[in-house]
């Protein structure tokens, strides 16, 4: 229990630090320049709206007040307004999040399945050449740029073979290529960790003992190796969440999908800092929460940690 609180506390500190850094960076952008944009008559903002915006940014107030002001705003879900057109960032993100979440979830799922398949098939491969081939796949996958992979998949599967349509696809068909684009490079580090930990586990004395009991190779892998070997991969899967969000952004750009990626790309191009910072903070929150969950899952998988966690 104390262990839980400690990890949660660390996560909270990380998020607080991330927020503070984001706040400082936002301050680094000249504030008046921000306001000047809203004064642009093309935006057609009324003077009341402008003074509202002024208030919501806390322009003119002392820095520490602004800090607490925006911290409170952030905690209550007010992420500020876009510099482009004054749209609340929250609305922008709410509109884009579901599409990205679906893409990321399927991407992660297929990455895990692909990694498991590569790792366990290579451990079972009856021939050395097959084993070497399977084990060299992750190092190839990891070297492939996501954007290029997306384009290659479009070129081959859509244009050449006409297997998947990318023009006006159905909701499921439209996910196939993006998910593949996301999953393939993401599976590589997972598969590498799995391959290595399977190899290491196979060398443990308890595997020799199990083999000496007369276990078949498949039984060894399923009963003795699998759970031990998956443990380090779970940690890596948690850490890969950051990679996942980054890749999702690129994938969305390649396929022209609506989502966080497009918003982020547009925001960076326009130097629309509030939007960028909001996306960054939300990603950080997701990352911290996911890794907290991984930490909590760990003792369920490994009894040794259960007692240790209880002792701390």
């Amino acid at each position: 229990m104390g262990y839980l609180l400690k990890r949660a506390g660390q996560g909270a500190i990380v998020l607080w630090a991330a927020f503070t850094v984001a706040f400082i960076l936002l301050q680094a952008l000249p504030g008046d320049a921000i306001m000047n944009r809203f004064l642009n008559p093309d935006l057609g903002l009324t003077s009341e709206q402008i003074s509202q915006l002024r208030q919501s940014y806390g322009v003119g107030a002392p820095l520490w007040q602004q800090y607490f002001h925006s911290a409170w705003a952030f905690l209550t879900g007010d992420l500020g307004n876009s510099l482009e057109d004054g749209t609340p960032v929250r609305l922008l993100i709410e509109g884009a999040l579901p599409s990205t979440a679906v893409l990321a979830a399927f991407g992660l799922l297929f990455a895990i399945l692909l990694a498991l398949a590569v790792a366990f098939l290579s451990a079972l491969a009856p021939f050395a050449w097959l084993r070497n081939l399977l084990q060299s796949l992750p190092s190839l996958f990891i070297a492939v740029p996501v954007f290029w992979l997306g384009i290659m998949l479009i070129q081959i599967l859509s244009f050449k073979l006409r297997l998947v349509s990318i023009i006006n696809p159905g909701p499921v068909e439209g996910l196939v290529l993006p998910v593949a684009t996301l999953a393939i490079p993401l599976s590589a580090p997972l598969a590498q960790v799995l391959v290595r930990s399977i190899d290491e586990t196979l060398l443990s004395p308890f595997i020799t003992v199990a083999a000496a009991k007369g276990a078949s190779r498949v039984r060894l892998l399923v009963h003795e190796v699998a759970r031990n070997a998956v443990l380090p991969a779970v940690t890596v899967a948690g850490l890969l969440f950051g990679e996942l969000i980054g890749s999702a952004i690129v994938t969305e750009t390649v396929y022209g999908r609506v989502g966080l990626g497009r918003i982020t790309e547009a925001a960076v191009k326009a130097q629309d800092a509030p939007v960028v910072e909001a996306v960054v903070l939300i990603s950080a929150i997701v990352f911290v929460v996911v890794n907290l969950i991984v930490d909590l899952l760990y003792p369920l998988l490994d009894a040794r940690l259960r007692t240790r966690a209880a002792a701390i």
Binding site: V14, A17, S139, Q271
Partner: protein, 287 residues
Amino acid sequence: MTAQAVTVGDEIRRPTAIVRRLRRVSPALVLAWLAVAVVVAWALVPWLFSAADPTIGVSGQRLQAPSIQHLFGTDQLGRDVLDRVIYGSRFSLVGALVAVGVGLVAGTALGVLAGTLSRAVDDVIMRIVDVLLAIPSLLLSLSIITLLGFGTVNVSIAVGITSIAMFARLTRSQVVKVRHTDYVEAAVGSGGHFLGVLWRHVLPNSMGPVVALSALQFGSAILQIATLGFLGFGAPPPTPEWGLMVSEGRNYIATSWWLTTLPGAIVVVVVLSTHRVSRSLGREKRG
């Protein structure tokens, strides 16, 4: 505690003969080194490999498929794609070098401080590292670019900053591991000063994996720089940057496959090669 488990042999280990070492070198590693050498040569002396100016096209030779004259074909302005790839290697390699430099220097410094100084310093540094780690690297580099502005150098610095966390964590764990070895304690026990022991024993023995990570990060940095170039945050258009080339080629994806496929394939080959080299470095240091 009890010592019985370890039984150490008394056999003499001889240094590995050069012949045996040569036999162990795999053809894949040789190819990897070759690929790295070729790309480095492209970056250093591009004019030896191509005569044409990569930014000026020949109007009569637009969008030509790969042939003997144009191995990689030509683009919409009639520019030779291979020439552009050759000249583009400089942006990728220099960028990756800057990025690894930033990550290596800052990350190693943080890692050594965290691993050697007090518990409090360690905690503070590792929380900072956690923050860096919690932000997806692409988003982190994008926010830095938002602040610094676009351009090749800024992109490299941004990419470098994203790798600080990894370098710091690895360095710290190595330093902590080496600090707890018997030989470091023995050096203290024989009257060594803190800094002397750190310099003579801890650092040399910690740096092997860090060197391997640098090589690995070099490949990853090329990948990230190409990605940011693709998204349009790197050098502006006439520049023959690899990611930007793929991005520009997207408009002709249905008709001119070579514009996107070949520059991207070069990225894959270079990254694959640096990773292969990195792995061999990691093994050397351990063995």
